[in-house]
Symmetry: C2
Subunit: 325 residues, 2 copies
């Protein structure tokens, strides 16, 4: 492997001058620059990023942590990584299966092996995560109210209310719900929205509610429960598009028609909603990914990239029929 020293030797110029042309900092005479460039070319010189990182005490690398893969991760990551690359940042991916693994990844912040971290999904408590913030900026997808951690969240309370109102306007009076873990602040917001809606509209049947901690098979299990009911809900709101898609697939396997027998609604506007064809709400995850990167970048470089507000909206990839009684 050829180093800065080799090219200094070959060109008969000092290491530091070579460094100047490699890094582009400082003045170098045209003559010497030419000779150095030639030597670099002749020797196939490639700068050693690791040495550079050690010296500069940062890596131009961001960590993207998820505890588990689920379909939206790929789509989200895609936006995040593109944004990062556009600004010269690399991203390191970590599937943190447990507390220990998550801490190890977080530890990398302390030595600037990672300059900043995006947490799509967390395992450790916020208090331990927060303690790492001293070493570098942290952004998260989760809804959380911490002074030093940026959260790309969108409040699900009004979104859920919006969904319920539309359902009501279309004549639905028996509505089921598939929620994520109650630990999640936005799940709590949804549940609250549901309660308030129930009080405001007495007489509706809203009690069919399922909670799932993991996306794996949540849709399938919820649909199986639906199929068992003597009088199942006319519509079911799922906490993610993937769950909705799986719910629909399982219902159809069970011989039911969607949306005729049950209208299923997702909340992501991910690719699968379009493919399977059901109504969903765009929760702006693409903008959230961009915002998260922008926040991290702004912290790191003292910049002012825009962090835009989010405007959820309906995306009807499938029919939203009036209920027939």
């Amino acid at each position: 492997m050829t180093t800065i020293y080799d090219i200094a030797q070959l060109s008969g110029i000092s290491k530091s001058t070579v460094s100047r042309v490699v890094s582009g900092n400082g003045y170098v005479s045209e003559a010497k620059r030419k000779r150095i460039l030639k030597a670099m070319h002749d020797l196939d010189y490639v700068p050693n990023q690791t040495a550079k990182n050690l010296r500069r005490q940062h890596s131009n690398t961001l960590g993207f942590l998820v505890s588990d893969y689920f379909p939206l991760v790929g789509e989200f990551m895609n936006v995040f990584v593109q944004a990062a690359h556009a600004k010269g940042y690399n991203v390191n991916l970590y599937f943190t299966q447990n507390k220990q693994g998550e801490r190890e990844a977080l530890d990398l912040l302390a030595t600037k092996m990672l300059d900043g971290i995006f947490l799509m999904t967390r395992i450790n408590s916020w208090s331990v995560i927060e303690s790492y913030q001293a070493f570098g900026p942290i952004a998260t997808w989760h809804r959380v109210n911490l002074p030093d951690i940026y959260s790309a969240y969108l409040d699900h309370y009004p979104v859920y209310t919006m969904i319920l109102n539309r359902l009501l306007a279309h004549g639905y009076t028996h509505i089921g719900h598939v929620f994520s873990s109650n630990r999640d602040a936005n799940t709590q917001a949804r549940v609250r929205a549901l309660q308030d809606f129930g009080h405001a509209n007495p007489g509706l049947k809203l009690s069919w509610q399922k909670h799932f901690t993991h996306q794996t098979q949540a849709g399938q299990n919820a649909a199986k429960a639906w199929l068992q009911e003597r009088i199942p809900p006319q519509a079911v709101i799922c906490y993610s598009d993937h769950v909705a898609a799986e719910f629909i697939a399982t219902l159809r396997e069970g011989g039911k028609r969607v949306p005729q027998d049950c209208l299923v609604i997702g909340t992501d506007n991910s690719q699968v909603a379009k493919l399977v064809g059901f109504p969903t709400v765009d929760l702006c995850f693409r903008q959230q990914a961009q915002n998260s990167f922008n926040y991290l970048f702004n912290q790191l470089r003292n910049a002012e990239l825009p962090v835009q507000s989010l405007h959820p909206k309906w995306v009807d990839w499938g029919p939203f029929p009036q209920v027939k009684n």
Copy 2:
């Protein structure tokens, strides 16, 4: 940030001894080890990976390069990253939008910023990619026959023949094809399989063929073309599940029934096939991801992790009806 030096100071023991307990190499007396451990704990010591990497001339990090995101990337990467983590490797993700970007990522091999590379999708010619192999192992998803680059490929010729035969057995005589770029060796294999099949079975209509370089909207555009036909194919084989799903969605939007009006077949066995519900062929991408990592690991560590052979098989997530005339 506390370093090995700080804890040497605090405990009154030399740097090198501290290093021994941190890295776990070499003998250290129990007494000193205890004191050092205590100091490490008191000072919240976190080893500096960058310094370690510079010194050891490797990073325990693999590069995962893709030119563009497409849905299978997420699922594939999931398996690859999990496999890597299980063996103590991290993975760095690169979306290499152009030749330049791909080379920059490949360059990282030279300095062991990256110990090995997996190429899901490439941009530069194989000859330039091959030249990097001197710096570290390279594996790829593409089908390519290069002595020094591992390719996780599965031969699509027999797979395509298998699909055609099943279609024929079910009475299909007019079969359409959505292919990827002809540059791809496995696309060429599919086309050859089709030609040979046509010769062996004269009288079939097999000429409806579309080629797409990118997955984005391939399914949609192909379906639009299908909808224009006076006598469209009874079945269409798509080169990926995502393309198949989009094809189906567009057909349905156009008022057609699937599979009644057109049987659509995918080839991935990705999540979307299950969700949308259509027949697909498992091309074992999960095993391919595992194999790719295992190959890289074997090269790097002179190990013998199994690189297993691939056995494609039908997965009917949706009906495969007999054709009715």
